[in-house]
Symmetry: C2
Subunit: 198 residues, 2 copies
């Protein structure tokens, strides 16, 4: 026996999701089968709506349902301070702190030689175009991974001739972290980045 064809197709669809194999996809498909009709209809409708209405902000690359995202449209923010992140998720994390008042630039990826992702494959070109003589600072806030560091170094080199201050967010022991649980690289970075107590 095989499952009905439509059902097999639904299982295949769920397998498009990251980290979802045959067994999990099957479980998801059964859940949808048992869910109320209304819920499934809403799910399908939202999927299509998202695909239709959500685009990348033409200025910063963040996701948005308008041409420009709310942050880029906000005149209260400092548009001369640009924080470069990997993905829209990172903006959400930064905004939760309610500390940063500048704008963002989303790369939508990181340079990765192993995955064959080159600088021209990510959203760097539009970053260069945003930088004017008035730009005060570009803060590179990519992840503290090999790919994040590679991208940070590449951007620093690229922007060095533009006369703009390029900074990198600090690396070190996370708050609440214990020395004896920290890995060596984190400790080395924490030592390198030590500051005079004020």
């Amino acid at each position: 026996m095989m499952y009905p064809k439509t059902f097999e197709k639904l299982i295949e669809c769920f397998q498009l999701l990251p980290g979802v194999g045959a067994k999990t996809a099957e479980r998801y498909a059964f859940t949808m089968l048992e869910a109320p009709q209304e819920q499934v209809k809403l799910f399908a409708k939202t999927l299509l709506e998202c695909k239709e209405n959500i685009r990348h902000c033409q200025t910063c690359g963040n996701i948005s349902d308008t041409e420009e995202c709310p942050i880029c449209r906000d005149a209260q923010r400092n548009h001369q301070m640009i924080c470069v992140v990997q993905s829209p998720k990172d903006i959400l994390a930064m905004e939760k702190t309610q500390e940063y008042k500048g704008v963002y630039h989303v790369l939508n990826g990181l340079i990765s030689t192993s995955k064959g992702i080159m600088p021209e494959d990510i959203n760097i070109e539009s970053l260069i175009q945003r930088i004017t003589p008035e730009t005060e600072e570009v803060i590179i806030a990519t992840n503290a991974t090999v790919e994040g560091e590679t991208t940070a170094l590449y951007l620093d080199k690229l922007l060095s001739g533009k006369g703009v201050l390029v900074t990198r967010i600090a690396h070190g022991l996370p708050m609440g972290g214990h020395l004896d649980y920290a890995d060596e690289l984190t400790l080395i970075k924490a030592f390198e980045g030590r500051k005079k107590i004020q």
Copy 2:
């Protein structure tokens, strides 16, 4: 900042799936955003089609896109031998063995006092109605869990007056299993179920 509303709604939709929390749902939603338009359209269409066309077989409770499932319609099979399982997934597992030539009955659930699932909440009534004086055997193949055992005992008691042979699949050491890794209950069952070597 928040995500655009439609996108937040899509994240909520994905959280309906079993074991999917906010972070995973967010990841799924981003995958859908980056997926080709065609793929997302097919996904939405398949979801709706499944909900519309897939129903429970009116005889055995298996999922099917016709009134009766292909197994119940198959005249080659022995319709006097009924194997009772918890879900359609179990049928797929049994059919892979290509050993069993009878038909099935899907309970679509198990009796569970802790979850408040009573005998009337699962597909038992239609099982009783299927049993005729010609029925040779009812094989109870529910899982070897507390709920599976409870349901098996309940069914055995219920069917005892019907003059039909009720059997339970064997419990014991799985093939390739090691004695020193088996739990106590499995070993007890394996001892109880010992047979003369033929």
